[in-house]
């Protein structure tokens, strides 16, 4: 559940979600669930010319299984905190 918890921490921040079909979408992270499904707000497709059908989409739901990367804001990670949480998770709780 570490990544779920982590993503919950950065709700409200601007992220770029790159999908396995190479579509990259910038938007405000609205919510995330246990499957790492993601909801984005105020979305903008990075390469709009290539994906004209996405022009009228402002809010979207992305299925967790199709996500390749999530690009975070530069100050999105507190490394110390993440290290601690990782160790705790590895110990099993």
């Amino acid at each position: 559940m570490l990544f779920f918890s982590y993503f919950k921490e950065i709700v409200g921040r601007e992220v770029v979600v790159e999908l396995k079909n190479d579509l990259a979408i910038r938007g405000t992270l609205r919510s995330v669930d246990q499957y790492l499904n993601i909801k984005l707000e105020n979305t903008r497709v990075v390469d709009q010319e290539k994906y004209p059908h996405m022009l009228s989409v402002r809010n979207c739901f992305i299925r967790g299984s199709v996500v390749r990367y999530v690009q975070l804001p530069p100050d999105g990670v507190d490394v110390e905190l993440l290290h601690d949480a990782t160790r705790r998770e590895a110990r099993g709780g």
Partner: protein, 128 residues
């Protein structure tokens, strides 16, 4: 992604906030379906009412009516809420008939095939 009460509906990751809205479903094979969301579950299985497929070839597009569709969740890439005010594509794109879009699709496919064929024949040149 369970059913959620109205208080957290807009904050949850559930698709409940898109119910009865016009949505765009992007599938893994690249197809784009439009329709009104009737139902969904935790796998992103979805039922679309008045569904149509939007075929885009270059600057041409066509909405091919399909009817009531049940989409298996594993094929879903993205579900987008369509802005009711600006539902349309960029102004330079024009709507054509089903026959025309099929023709354009075939032409595009043929061109891709031809490119593949030429590339294959030129392989000995080791262009990369």
């Amino acid at each position: 992604m369970s059913w959620s009460g109205p208080e957290d509906l807009y904050l949850s990751t559930s698709l409940a906030s898109y119910l009865d809205r016009k949505i765009l479903v992007l599938l893994r094979d690249g197809r784009k379906l439009l329709g009104t969301l009737c139902s969904f579950d935790q796998f992103a299985n979805a039922v679309l009412e008045g569904a149509c497929e939007r075929v885009i070839v270059g600057d041409l597009y066509c909405d091919i009516p399909l009817g009531l569709y049940v989409i298996r969740g594993e094929n879903v890439v993205l579900i987008g809420e369509l802005d009711s005010e600006k539902e349309d594509l960029p102004p330079h794109m024009s709507r054509v008939s089903v026959a025309e879009i099929r023709k354009a699709q075939k032409a595009e496919r043929d061109a891709t095939d031809l490119k593949g064929l030429i590339r294959k024949r030129m392989e000995f040149l080791d262009m990369d």
